[in-house]
């Protein structure tokens, strides 16, 4: 126990005496949140929209007007044929085409069902999918209002995925992502580097030649970064809540629990890397390549997973941040409980166990 305390103490000394490390671990979350919150505007605006309405009626006109009046949309006009629509879109002059089916009102009133097709220009998949989601939200809104007025049950067939983000704020999307990214960076890079540094500077030789148990050392190495990552998590949470107005709809306790689990996972991954390399530079490169980039690209933080090619969708399932971000979004934004995130939690636990097992197998009692 004394050994553990002395070791943890030493680790904190390393961190606090290296101003660069300190800057990185406390600066990263603040910079990231503010950068994504203010400088990088992920919101989609000026969506150029056109309509194809073969049989105009009260409903189609109503929907058209709603979208036309929405600040995010830039109404280009109506087209007379699908061909014309395609020509304009191909020229890149159109982001979203809204196509009503023939006899929209007739169908809606008689069969209770009518379809609207949303064609998005997905050369920019992000912009495309967000445009579609905006339009869907507006149509759903319209439908709700109409139902209140007419009392007739009917359904305009659109899939509405923006129900939890009615204000359409992009910060709702990326705050969980930033958490996933920052904690991964701090835990994985810092832990792997701090162990590999001992190897590189030769202090590992002295530690190994001492009666210190390897498990004690590993445990002591992870504690400081666990504490710091959790502080980072709290910083992000506070900044998101007070500066970016992101709500915490679900249980704060569950949120912290998921965060701690994810921190464990990231630490385990850092440990795994540290057993594989002998140079700090390699530890940083491997951590960055395998932890940071997949979190940015494949976790759903920036690019929606549904828009990815199938291969990448499969690949994204092994990115821990994907499950973490999913769970955080559900709990924090949607206000769901454990019953909705148990799958994510189980996957994260499974990954942690796997990484710890790999670490245990690879850990050496000697120098080689």
């Amino acid at each position: 126990m004394k050994q553990l305390i002395a070791f943890v103490n030493k680790e904190f000394h390393h961190i606090f005496r290296d101003s660069r490390t300190l800057l990185v671990i406390l600066g990263i979350p603040i910079v990231q949140i503010l950068l994504f919150g203010f400088a990088i505007n992920m919101e989609v605006q000026d969506i150029r929209v056109a309509f194809y309405d073969p049989t105009p009626d009260a409903f189609t006109t109503g929907i058209t007007e709603r979208i036309r009046q929405n600040a995010y949309f830039n109404y280009l006009g109506k087209v007379n044929s699908m061909n014309e629509m395609e020509v304009v879109m191909r020229k890149g002059k159109l982001d979203l085409a809204i196509v009503f089916e023939q006899d929209f009102q007739e169908n809606l009133v008689h069969s209770g069902n009518a379809a609207v097709q949303l064609l998005s220009n997905s050369s920019d998949p992000n912009r495309g999918s967000i445009s579609v989601n905006y339009a869907m939200a507006i149509i759903a809104d319209y439908q709700k209002d109409q139902m209140n007025i007419s009392q007739i049950p009917f359904q305009i067939q659109t899939e509405n995925r923006m129900v939890y983000n009615p204000l359409m704020k992009s910060s709702y999307m990326f705050v969980p992502g930033i958490m996933g990214l920052v904690m991964m960076i701090i835990c994985t890079i810092m832990t792997s580097v701090s162990i590999v540094r001992e190897k590189e500077r030769g202090t590992m030789e002295v530690l190994l030649a001492s009666p210190l148990k390897h498990g004690t050392m590993i445990f002591a190495k992870t504690i400081p970064y666990m504490v710091i990552s959790f502080i980072d998590f709290i910083i992000i949470l506070l900044l998101s809540y007070f500066v970016l107005d992101v709500p915490v709809n679900g249980s704060l306790f569950l949120l912290c629990l998921i965060a701690i689990l994810y921190i464990f996972l990231s630490l385990s991954y850092g440990l795994t890397i540290s057993t594989l390399v002998d140079k700090q530079v390699n530890a940083v490169i491997i951590s960055a390549m395998t932890a940071m980039i997949p979190v940015l690209m494949l976790s759903g933080m920036i690019f929606p997973i549904d828009n990815m090619p199938n291969v990448l969708q499969y690949f994204s399932t092994i990115v821990p941040a994907r499950w973490f971000i999913d769970a955080i979004r559900k709990v924090m934004i949607q206000g769901q409980g454990l019953t909705m995130v148990w799958k994510d939690v189980l996957i994260l636990i499974g990954m942690t166990v796997f990484l710890l097992a790999v670490t245990a197998v690879n850990t050496k009692k000697r120098l080689e």
Binding site: K2, Q3, A6, F7, K10, H13, H14, R17, D18, R201, G202, T203, E205, V206, L207, L208, A209, S210, P211, L212, K365, R366, L367, E368
Partner: protein
């Protein structure tokens, strides 16, 4: 007491680089045993095996009855190991380093202070300075203090005086003498031949083999060559002229002198005359007692 039997170790795939090639020796309790040889001779590999840090390919090592592979945890309790490279935390202060290593070995600075007192007192004025800011000699004193703080039975020091100034080197060896009086067995390696005389027994190591092992005096007594020193004239030309002489067996530069071994029958007078004919008119030739380095040279040729 350390017993090493037929130790082999090679690195790389297919065992291309042989670090140790069948090493056998015994170190008795309370003696200073020096392993002396040039860089790359296998000293560090040998010491790391003894410190249970790497595994030998074959051969056995027992330290105070504990087998180095099987009982590595016991070994790590009783040894104090100081690697060749300065291996303390540069961003921790002198005192913090010592405290950390004391705790690591489940002891305190106070408990064994008497053991390190002589050494530590010299660096104590700088105890709040970061270890990275110490001079070479002070770093080694701190490293020795850290290796000693748990009162080890065996001290394994890998090139402790490399990169240390001559005065500090002498002080360092004086400390080892005092530790020996406490009954600590000391295994030390060095590339400085002049330090050999400070050991009770030495082994000369080259390319992973012991080429001679004895007391320093014993090694010198075994020397059978006729050894002269030669001074005068330009060293490099003198060296090549001497190497061309049919009766000169070997010649090496030794500081400002040349040490040469010659065949039976050659007189200093004859050689002086020979050199005079070659244009060296101010040459001084004397028969001398061999040093350990001469013995090493003789054993390697």
């Amino acid at each position: 007491m350390i017993e090493v039997k037929d130790l082999h170790k090679s690195y790389g795939r297919h065992g291309k680089a042989n670090a140790l090639n069948g090493i056998t020796f015994t170190v008795k309790k309370g003696e200073i045993f020096g392993v002396i040889g040039p860089d790359g001779a296998g000293k560090s590999s040998l010491f790391r095996i003894l410190a249970s840090l790497i595994l030998p390919d074959s051969g056995t090592v027992t330290i105070n009855g504990f087998e180095v592979i099987k009982d590595y945890q016991k070994i790590r309790q009783i040894i104090g190991y100081m690697p060749g490279r300065f291996s303390l935390y540069q961003d921790l202060s002198v005192e913090e380093n010592l405290k950390f290593f004391a705790t690591l070995f489940n002891t305190t600075i106070e408990e064994n202070y008497y053991l390190i007192k002589d050494i530590y007192q010299q660096i104590e004025p700088f105890k709040n300075r970061r270890a990275g800011a110490l001079s070479g000699g002070m770093k080694q004193k701190l490293a020795l203090s850290c290796a000693l703080i748990h009162k080890p039975e065996i001290l394994i020091l890998d090139e402790p005086t490399t990169g240390v100034d001559p005065v500090s080197r002498k002080e360092f060896w004086d400390m080892l003498d005092r530790l020996k009086e406490q009954g600590i067995t000391i295994l030390v390696s060095t590339a400085y031949m002049d330090e050999a005389s400070r050991c009770d027994r030495i082994a000369l190591i080259l390319e992973g083999k012991f080429i001679g092992s004895n007391t320093p005096q014993g090694i010198i007594d075994d020397y059978s060559e006729i050894l002269w020193s030669v001074i005068g004239g330009k060293m490099s030309t003198l060296l090549s002229v001497l190497r061309n002489h049919p009766k000169v067996k070997s010649s090496f530069a030794f500081g400002d002198k040349l040490h040469i071994t010659v065949k039976e029958g050659l007189q200093t007078f004859d050689l002086k005359q020979y050199l005079l004919n070659k244009g060296f008119n101010n040459v001084c030739i004397d028969p001398i007692q061999p040093t350990i380095e001469d013995c090493f040279m003789a054993l390697t040729s």
